[in-house]
């Protein structure tokens, strides 16, 4: 641990904006992709159920 305190950690030696700006956007986008993946699967399954429901 080379930070001493949490506030030093969040400061990132004055580069907090750049470092956390990178990490925050990256993980937000990945979380969004995961949500979109789940939504796509749910939508595909729903359409299929309607299809098979209408046929039988």
């Amino acid at each position: 641990m080379n930070w001493g305190s949490w506030s030093n950690f969040w400061m990132m030696g004055g580069y907090g904006f750049y470092v956390w700006g990178s990490y925050a956007v990256t993980f937000t986008l990945i979380a969004m992709e995961i949500l979109l993946l789940r939504a796509r699967r749910r939508a595909a399954l729903d359409t299929l159920r309607q299809h098979t429901g209408a046929q039988s």
Partner: protein, 254 residues
């Protein structure tokens, strides 16, 4: 005499090329790759933030490297895998290869965007500019447009078979851009620094920095595999909706 053995081997491989056998197999693999990605990511972040030392030139700003390099490598690698499956799809006319191409594209675009975004946030404190039209950055931006172009092209063609072929041709033509990105820092005098990691040179950075970077790169790999397998399953459901096995699958789901 070897013939039957060889034949049996190839039949096995092609068996998994059929969507109905691949679909459940992919479903079983997703949690493994997903959780491995999460664990590697936590380990990489721990090494990157709590073990790797401060850089004597760049201070703490260099810690962007742990996502920047992983995302940039992934953005190029996904494109190569995509071009490979596009080639397989064009030659052997296999449905699953084309589906795999479409499944990889959004994740490839995501990592390309992340590479550009983090590069910009890193460039500002180190070079004093958010963006420069140098060879590395411009070719990476072209890569993003290739991914977007692929999605726009496929969305614009109604017939899925024609969309597959058109997309595959675009993917194969665009693959020229990958060596340009990779070697741009050698071929041209760029603002972007040269390769951080080389197999032929001794590492120029602290071992902990390198370890953190490689852990994050592996995490990006595992995530990409999990995400593209998940997406290809949705694509299979969307496209093969007439098939009997899908109806059976739905009964299991309910």
């Amino acid at each position: 005499m070897n013939q039957p053995v060889l034949l049996a081997g190839s039949i096995n491989v092609f068996r998994y090329a059929a969507p109905q056998t691949f679909y459940p197999l992919a479903g079983k693999m997703i949690p493994w790759f997903g959780w491995t990605a999460a664990i590697l990511c936590i380990a990489g972040l721990y090494v990157g933030f709590f073990m790797a030392p401060t850089d004597h030139q760049q201070g703490e700003s260099y810690r962007i490297i742990f996502i920047h390099v992983a995302a940039a490598w992934m953005s190029m690698f996904i494109y190569m895998v995509m071009a490979f499956w596009a080639g397989v799809g064009l030659v052997f006319n296999t449905r699953l290869s084309h589906m795999m191409v479409s499944a990889l594209v959004p994740t490839g675009a995501l990592f390309t965007f992340i590479a550009l975004w983090t590069g910009s946030l890193w460039g500002k404190p180190t070079w004093g500019t958010w963006w420069a039209w140098d060879a590395r950055m411009t070719s990476e931006l072209i890569l993003l447009f290739l991914y977007f172009g692929f999605m726009a092209l496929q969305a614009g063609i109604d017939d899925p078979r024609r969309a597959d072929r058109a997309g595959a041709v675009l993917a194969l033509v665009g693959v020229v851009n990958i060596p340009i990105i990779y070697f741009s820092v050698k071929w041209w005098n760029t603002l972007h620094q040269g390769a951080s990691v080389s197999l032929t040179r001794a590492p120029t950075m602290a071992t902990t920095m390198l370890t953190g970077m490689l852990l994050m790169a592996l995490a990006a790999w595992m995530y990409t595999i999990a995400a593209s397998l998940h997406r290809v399953r949705s694509i299979i459901l969307e496209r093969e909706h007439g098939a009997d096995w899908i109806r059976n699958h739905l009964e299991i789901q309910q």
